[in-house]
């Protein structure tokens, strides 16, 4: 299945792109996707401890299984307001 990954703020700048498509096996979880993304963009390791990941615009656990068409986003802690 194909998953669209978006990058925001410092993640966007570190990866050098606003989004990227990843091909994953069926039943892959958010944690699996995270590993794939991190191996493609090892620079994100620097912010591993506080990186946030959303699935379809909400926060879910990393055990959540993905499905075709899902939109995942990687970003740092928010700083609006």
């Amino acid at each position: 299945m194909k998953i669209l990954v978006k990058f925001f703020a410092s993640c966007r700048e570190l990866c050098g792109k606003t989004s990227e498509r990843f091909q994953l096996q069926d039943k892959a979880t958010l944690r699996d996707l995270r590993s794939v993304v991190m191996s493609m963009h090892p620079i994100l390791e620097n912010m591993r401890d506080y990186l946030l990941i959303s699935l379809n615009e909400t926060f879910v656990t990393e055990q959540t299984e993905l499905k075709e068409g899902d939109v995942v986003a990687f970003f740092p802690p928010v700083s609006g307001g």
Partner: protein, 141 residues
């Protein structure tokens, strides 16, 4: 009214819009670009949003605030893009029958938004620019 926008806002207009016969107290918060941050001069700020998620988060915050406080109206506008010193960043307007609930609810919206709204701020000083990253991780939303 919940908006993520490049445009500036008019408080008078939004106050006028949310008024009903029940409302006796309106408390508003405006966030503004300061000329200094941690002792450094600031030339401008840039705000970036995950817009779709931000609107969803604003809806969540509004719904949760209505559950917790006895207030009638909540309007929130957060600007994005490049903002200079003294520009408006954020407006929260809360209308209620009584003042106590209006104050508490407005403050609550602000604190929730600072923790969970997917918007990021980049500071530009005369020498450099850097992303400001929040202390909390948003997962408690």
């Amino acid at each position: 009214m919940l908006e993520i926008t490049r445009d500036d806002f008019s408080i008078d207009e939004i106050v006028q819009k949310i008024k009903t016969e029940d409302i006796g107290a309106i408390v508003s918060f405006i966030g503004i670009v300061r000329g200094k941050s941690n002792g450094k001069n600031v030339n401008k700020l840039e705000f970036e949003a995950y817009k779709k998620m931000a609107i969803l988060q604003l809806k969540n915050i509004r719904a949760e605030t209505f559950r917790k406080f006895n207030v009638n109206q909540i309007a929130i506008v957060h600007r994005i893009g490049s903002l200079k010193v003294s520009d408006n960043i954020l407006l929260i307007v809360v209308g209620a029958t009584h003042r106590d609930e209006a104050f508490k609810a407005c403050r609550h919206v602000l604190e929730q938004l600072k923790k969970t709204l997917p918007i990021w701020k980049k500071e530009f000083t005369p020498e450099e620019s850097y992303w400001i990253e929040g202390e909390t991780h948003g997962k408690d939303a």
